[in-house]
Amino acid sequence: MDILSILISESFWAASLRIATPLIFGVLGALICERSGVLNLGIEGIFVVGAMCGWMAVWLGAGLWSGVLVAALAGALFGLFHAILTVPLGLSQHVSGLGITLFATSVSYFTYRTTLPNVSSPPRIEPFQPLDIPILSDLPFIGTVLFQQTAMTWLALLMVVIVWYVMNRTALGVAIKAVGDNPDSVDAQGLSVYALRMGAIVAGSALMALGGAFLTMSAFDAFFFGMVNGRGWVCIALVIFASWRPGKALFGALLFGAFDALQVRLQTEMGALVPGQVFLMAPYILSIIALVVAARSADYPRALLTPWFKGQR
C-alpha cells in the first residue's frame, strides 16, 4: 500500500472533487437556511426530489440545463412547504424537516414508479460530459483534476463564490445573517422576518436539489431508489463543521470527498486485510467526528430553531 502515490495521483483528486460536488450544493443550501435561523432536515428528501425531477425532465426530452432548472424549482417548491410550516406557523423544525424528507422521498418514488411501472433496469439518459477545455485540459495534473469535470461541478464552485459574495458583501446577506441571529433586529428596522427566512429556505432548498440532480445527471445517468443514501444528512453535519461559512463549507466538502475517494482506493489495495465495509463506514464516522470537534467551538446562529412570531416580543 502506498498512500502517498494515491495522494499525488490525478485521478484521486479528480474523484475527490466529483464526490464533493453534490455535497457542495447541499452544504451551501443548508448554510443559507441555517444562517437565516431555520434548520432544514428536508435536505435528504430534497436531494431525492432533485435527482428524480432533473432526471425525469431530461428523460422526457428536456435539455440537460432545463433538467437542472426543473430540479431547482422542485427543490424550491418543497423548500417553500418547509418554510410555510416552520416560519409563519413556527412549527418544530426537526419534525417538519423529517416530514418533508419522508414526503419528498415518497412523492419522488411514487412518481417514478408510476411513470415507469414495468422497467427492469433503470432507463438511462445522456448525462453531462466532462468539459474538455482546449489547452487547459491538457495541462498536467490541474488539467485532469479541474478541467475534466462536468459543468455541474463548475456550477457548484461558482455557487461557492456567489453564496460567499451574497453573504459577506451584500445588504441581503447582512439581513439574512441578522435574521438568524436576532429576528427582532430586522423587524425593528422594518424588514420582514418572514420574507427573509422563507426566501432563504426556498433558495437553499433549490441548491440542495441541485446536489441531487448532480447524482442522476452527472455522476450517474439513471435514477435508483436509495441513491441519495444519507448525503443530505452528511451536509447537515458538514455545515456545522464549516461554522456556517461558504469557504469552509467548500473545504469540508472537499475533505469529505477526498476521504471518500481515498477509502475506495485503499479498499482495492487492502481489501484482503480489512473488510470493505470498514471503508464505507469511514465517511459517516468522519462526519460524526467533525460534528463533535466543531460542536463546542461552533458559532451557531443564535436564533436557530427558535420560531419568531410577529408582534410577540
Binding site: A171, K177, A178, D181, P301, R302
Partner: protein, 503 residues
C-alpha cells in the same frame, strides 16, 4: 413650541388584562417627556402601540410630518412609524450580534437586491450624527463584542440615522452605570437642541427630575397625572405612581442571629465579567435580610447561580449551617436548606406545560410524602397544592391546570409557596418583584420579612435600590464581581459605590 406627536385615547387589552385605558398624551418639538410608572403600569405597551408593534383596541395617533403638520399614523405598522420619523430604543436591544454596528444601523435602509454596496455615504452620515450628539461607538466590530453602553448608543444611532424626529427610550438607564446614564442624558440634551423630541420611560425619580421637561405618570394603564418638571417634586410623583393608599411594609428591627451561610474566598469563573465572582466573602445570619445592590451585569447572576447550585466555584468554600457544601448542585443546595427564587420565573422557575400541583412539588420529588417506591402519591400532591394555593393566594384556573396559564404575579406566588413551605434556612431572592404589580410585590416583601422573623437568612439581589433600602438589614454592593459592604443605608453613598467610586 409645535406639537409633534399626539396620542389620542389609546386603549389596549390583553385577554382580561387592561394594559392601557384611554391614554392621551402630547409631545412638543425639542421636548423631553418622561413617562413614569411602576412596573406593569402600561408604559411599554403604550410605546409599543406608538411604534406599531401592538394594534390599539381604540384610539388614534397623530405625528407631525417634515413640515410640522400633524398627520394620522397608520396603526399596527412598524414600517409606518419608522417612516414618519419615530425611533424606538427598546429595553431589550434589537441588535444582531454577528454583524457590525454600521450594518445594524443601515439594515433595512439599503436596497436588499443590489450587488454593490456603497456605504461611504452612510458612514459619513453616521459619523456626523456621532459628532453632533456625542454618541460614539465602534462601527466595524461585530456588535456582540461591544459593551452594553456602546450597544445602546448603536440603538440610538439606528433611530437617528433614519432621521427620527421623535425618539422613544424604554428604561434606557437600567443597564448603565450612573456615569454612562449622565452621559446619555447629556447627549440627549444635545440632540433636543437640534429639534429632536424625546420620550423616555423610567421609574427612577431622580433622573426624571434631573433631565426631563415634562412628566406624565401612568398607573394601572391610565394616565393619572401630568406636569412640568419644574413644578414637580419627588413626593408628589411618587404618590401618583403608587397611588395614595399603598400599605408601607412594616419592618421590625431585629437582632441578627447565628451565621447560617458563609462564603469564603469564592471565585466563580464565568464566560464574562457578568457571570464571574472574584474571591468574595459573604456572611448571612439568621433574622437578617442581606441586600445585594448593584448595576445589572456586575456578577449578580454568578452569585445567584452559586447559591442556587448552578455554578461550581473554582476556589473558595461555601458553608451552610457550618457544613461545607462539597459538591454544589441544585439538589444538594435544596437539601442543605437553601430556598431559591430565580430571577427569570418563566425560564427557570416553572415548567409551564406541567400542572400547578406538579410545579409545587418539583423540588422535593424524593420526599416520602410525595412518592413511595418511585411512584408519585397523586392524592398527596393534589392536597399539598390545594393547601398551598389557599395559603399563598395563588389564583388561576386550578391546581390541575398547566402553570403557564397563571399570570406573572401568581407564578411568583407559586414559587414562593414552593420555597417557603419547606421552611428554608437560607433564601436567595433574585429580583423577586421584577415585573410584579404593587400588590404582588408587597406580598413578596411580606413573605421575606416573615421568613426573617422565623429565623431564616435572606439574600436579596435587586437592581431596585429602593426595594433594598426598604427591606434589607445590611447592604452589600456588588461591582465587577467583587462584594463590598456598605457602612450605611445612605442612598447617595451606595449609589457611588455601585458606580465604582470611593464612598
Amino acid at each position: 413650541m409645535r406639537t409633534v406627536l399626539s396620542l389620542n385615547g389609546l386603549s389596549k387589552r390583553f385577554g382580561s388584562v387592561i394594559a392601557n385605558n384611554n391614554v392621551t398624551l402630547t409631545l412638543k418639538r425639542g421636548e423631553v417627556l418622561a413617562l413614569l410608572g411602576e412596573n406593569g403600569a402600561g408604559k411599554t405597551t403604550l410605546m409599543n402601540m406608538l411604534f406599531g408593534h401592538y394594534l390599539p383596541d381604540a384610539g388614534t395617533i397623530d405625528v407631525a410630518d417634515e413640515n410640522g403638520q400633524l398627520q394620522s399614523l397608520q396603526l399596527g405598522h412598524p414600517q409606518a412609524a419608522l417612516s414618519s420619523g419615530i425611533g424606538m430604543v427598546h429595553q431589550h436591544f434589537t441588535l444582531a450580534e454577528n454583524i457590525s454596528a454600521i450594518d445594524n444601523i443601515t439594515l433595512g435602509s439599503e436596497r436588499l437586491l443590489t450587488l454593490r454596496r456603497d456605504r461611504s455615504a452612510a458612514r459619513r452620515k453616521i459619523e456626523s450624527i456621532m459628532e453632533k450628539s456625542g454618541l460614539n461607538a465602534p462601527l466595524n466590530v461585530p456588535v456582540g463584542r461591544l459593551s452594553v453602553g456602546e450597544r445602546q448608543r448603536v440603538e440610538i444611532l439606528k433611530a437617528l440615522y433614519r432621521d427620527a424626529r421623535i425618539l422613544v427610550l424604554d428604561e434606557p438607564t437600567a443597564v448603565l452605570t450612573p456615569q454612562e446614564a449622565d452621559m446619555l442624558f447629556e447627549n440627549i440634551k444635545a440632540m433636543t437642541a437640534e429639534g429632536l423630541s424625546v420620550i423616555f420611560i423610567s421609574h427612577k425619580l431622580r433622573e426624571v427630575l434631573a433631565f426631563s421637561d415634562r412628566i406624565a405618570v401612568l398607573r394601572h394603564g391610565e394616565k393619572v397625572g401630568e406636569m412640568a418638571t419644574a413644578d414637580a417634586d419627588e413626593k408628589t410623583i411618587a404618590r401618583m405612581m403608587v397611588g395614595a393608599d399603598t400599605p408601607k411594609i412594616a419592618r421590625q428591627e431585629m437582632a441578627a442571629g447565628e451565621t447560617i451561610t458563609e462564603l469564603k474566598g469564592v471565585t466563580v469563573s464565568g464566560r464574562s465579567k457578568r457571570d464571574s465572582l472574584e474571591s468574595v466573602d459573604l456572611t448571612v445570619r439568621a433574622h437578617e435580610i442581606l441586600g445585594i445592590a448593584g448595576i445589572s451585569g456586575n456578577g449578580q447572576s454568578a452569585l445567584a447561580k452559586l447559591i442556587s447550585g448552578l455554578a461550581i466555584p473554582t476556589r473558595g468554600t461555601i458553608e451552610i449551617d457550618d457544613q461545607a457544601i462539597t459538591s454544589p448542585n441544585p439538589a444538594s443546595m435544596i437539601s442543605a436548606g437553601v430556598g431559591r427564587i430565580p430571577e427569570d420565573r418563566h425560564y427557570e422557575g416553572i415548567v409551564g406545560a406541567m400542572t400547578v400541583a406538579e410545579n409545587m412539588v418539583i423540588e422535593r420529588l424524593s420526599d416520602p410524602d410525595i412518592q413511595s417506591n418511585g411512584l408519585l402519591r397523586r392524592d398527596a400532591i393534589q392536597s399539598n397544592a390545594s393547601t398551598l394555593t389557599k395559603e399563598y393566594d395563588v389564583r388561576g384556573p386550578g391546581v390541575t391546570a398547566s402553570a403557564q396559564l397563571l399570570s406573572g404575579g401568581n407564578i411568583q406566588k407559586l414559587i414562593l409557596a414552593r420555597v417557603f413551605d419547606r421552611g428554608p434556612r437560607v433564601i436567595l431572592a433574585n429580583q423577586p418583584t421584577r415585573g410584579l404589580d404593587m400588590g404582588a410585590a408587597a406580598e413578596v416583601g411580606r413573605r421575606l420579612l416573615e421568613a426573617r422573623a422565623r429565623g431564616a437568612g435572606i439574600i436579596l439581589i435587586s437592581e431596585d435600590l429602593d426595594e433594598i433600602l426598604g427591606l434589607a438589614d445590611r447592604i452589600v454592593v456588588i461591582r465587577d464581581g467583587n462584594l463590598v459592604e456598605a457602612d450605611s443605608q445612605d442612598r447617595e453613598k451606595i449609589g457611588m459605590m455601585m458606580a465604582g467610586e470611593a464612598a
